[in-house]
Amino acid sequence: MRLLPRSLFGRTLLVLAAGLLLAQTASLLVNLLDRGSAVYRLSAQQVAIRIAHMARVLNRLPEAARAELVEELAGTDVQILISTKPIKVTKGYAELDVYEAAFARAVRRSLGKPLETTVEITRLPRAQRARDAQADASAFDLWMGRHFYFLQPGQFSVVVQIALEDGAVAVFVARVPQERLARLETLVPRLALWLGIFFALAALVVRMVTRPLARLARGAESIGADPEGPPLAEEGPEETRSVIRAFNRMQIRVQAYLLERAELLRAVSHDLKTPITRMRLRSEMLADAAQRDKFLRDLGEMAQMVDSTLEFFRSLGNDPRREPVDIGALVESLAEDWRAMGHTVEVQGSPERPYLGHAQALRRCIDNLVGNAIRYGERARVVIEDDAHCLRIRVEDEGPGIPQDALERVFEPFFRLEASRNRASGGTGLGLSIARNVARWHGGDLVLQNRPQHKGITAQLRLPR
């Protein structure tokens, strides 16, 4: 398995290519072995008959006339030589003996007279055709000739020696043509072309499969980040479509599940409102002033939790519409509200122009940050920085800060840092969740950082324009 490529794309290509290569090789072998010998047999038969006829004519002619005829017959595919004695021929291959015997039989059958006939099929290296010695016949050529003689057309000569009645020997050297298909030189480019076309097609087909899969993976990723996102488009082959459909159904179920849980929490929070109201009234009428104040404080906390839980669910209201908002006035007005309650809030900088956003939600977001700064850091400093691409609002405090490893966790709903930020300091554990929700809805983000040179933390709100 380790040798397989990791991607479906690579695996499919590999398997298909290997299959093609195997099939090609097998069919080539069958083709060559079978067709090669068939063609060989057929043409050999023809040549044998011709040689026999020529031998019959030569046998009849007087010695002087033979040379004339030999000359006339020269240049055809059969070369003729009249010799006084049999010539020496390099021994061919044992596996060709069958063909030699068959050839000899065919010649004899057509000779009409019982003339002594020997047949030797021998391989002539390429160079010998150029009437040169074996000088440039490479070891590869020889090896090929020995084992793949059927691949090398025209390389075989059939040497037929027929003893004529007057003692002379007629030597016929015939070249036996073989199947052209078998030529290795043409085989390689042809296979390459095949593979090229095949790879292109395979790549296309595999892409058709893998592209929707890749999209599905991206979709799964984005649903993980935002379960409310739109369903995936049903594209690609039917198999992929059915996966996407199943996936979309799962998304709907996840959405329904989340909605159900949110609904439950919302309903519980909502239903707590009336009992808390009653308890507040009841506490107000307690005679013991100390008890009354404690009750009222607890109830105040409960009311705040109910409020911010419900607020969390409607962070962006029923109507998430953007309008230009004067962020300077927004920050200044909420700072004013905190100052009216006796807190210190400093504002620095101002935006260059109105920001297109959700006024109520942005106010809630920044108000939560300022509230946290005051609650944990006594005082808040709000710095507004603005440029063409981004509006940045920093809220700094001088509190104890947050352990580095909890800087992200404080955004989790109801998460509390019990040690440094206990319940006595108030807050419901939803303020930052709401604030980040609002920031992300606007395409921005909210991060917390400990201030390196100072005490306290900086809440960095980034709102892209």
């Binding site: 109201t277 009234l281 009428m285 004067d326 007005s333 009216a340």
Partner: protein, 238 residues
């Protein structure tokens, strides 16, 4: 003998009704209670209350319909109690002519303070109700539900709590001189002390929000030895 204000509490939750009745009674109110719209109407005829505390969620005819009906008949101040506290409720509450609204779980002291404020305002100023949650004046729109200003070019200008209350008093009483004491009382909820500049500071902030020139203001004008006046036509906005 001092006049005792008479409050009519309309709520379908019997326990809450009794608790409110007891609490308000202890705090100097004469209290009548009604379970629903039918009982409320009977009591309106016989008991002639000074103020009505009305729950939005009522069986049968709901609080909003009752409020509209009440408004059509009289100027009786109404505080709505809502368990939803959503902006839509506030918009409808204002459009139905409620003077104020509190969302549950409200703080009883807050209810008391609001009731007193409304009664005081009703005596200090002629009753004026918005009847629309958006009011237009001098090129500006004040959104009473969202509690912010909208400029002519559509830019939303948020207001602080005090700024909003002050502006709300101005726009519901346009072209009427409001003295510092009235404004202190209604917007800041306390009486002015001699040489108190708090209202002047708030008015100058408001002028800044309204982009009004402090030396030559056109929208909120200063009246020598008198107070301030909103010099603009106010109309309902869609």
């Amino acid at each position: 003998m001092q006049h005792t204000d008479h409050v009519l509490v309309v709520d379908d939750d019997a326990e809450l009704r009794d608790l409110l009745s007891e609490y308000l009674g202890r705090n100097g109110f004469r209290v009548s209670v009604a379970r629903d719209g039918r009982e409320m109407r009977q009591l309106l005829d016989t008991a002639s209350p000074d103020i009505v505390v009305l729950d939005v969620m009522l069986p049968g005819e709901d609080g909003l319909a009752l409020c509209r009906d009440l408004r059509a008949r009289s100027n009786l101040p109404v505080i709505m109690l809502t368990a939803r506290g959503e902006e839509l409720d506030r918009i409808i509450g204002i459009e139905m002519g409620a003077d104020d609204y509190l969302s549950k779980p409200f703080n009883p002291r807050e209810l008391l303070a609001r009731m007193k404020g409304i009664l005081r305002r009703a005596r200090s100023l002629p009753p004026a109700r918005a009847e629309s949650h958006r009011l237009r004046f001098a090129g500006w729109t004040l959104d009473l539900a969202a509690r912010h200003l909208i400029a002519d070019d559509g830019v939303v200008v948020p207001l602080s709590g005090t700024e909003f209350r002050l502006l709300q008093i101005f726009v519901t009483h346009p072209n009427r001189v409001l003295d510092r004491n009235q404004l202190m009382d209604l917007a800041l909820g306390r009486e002015a002390t001699p040489f108190d500049r708090a209202i002047d500071v708030q008015v100058s902030r408001l002028r800044q929000r309204l982009r009004d020139d402090a030396r030559e203001p056109r929208i909120i004008k200063t009246v020598r030895n008198g107070g301030y006046v909103l010099a603009a036509q106010v109309e309902k906005a869609a």
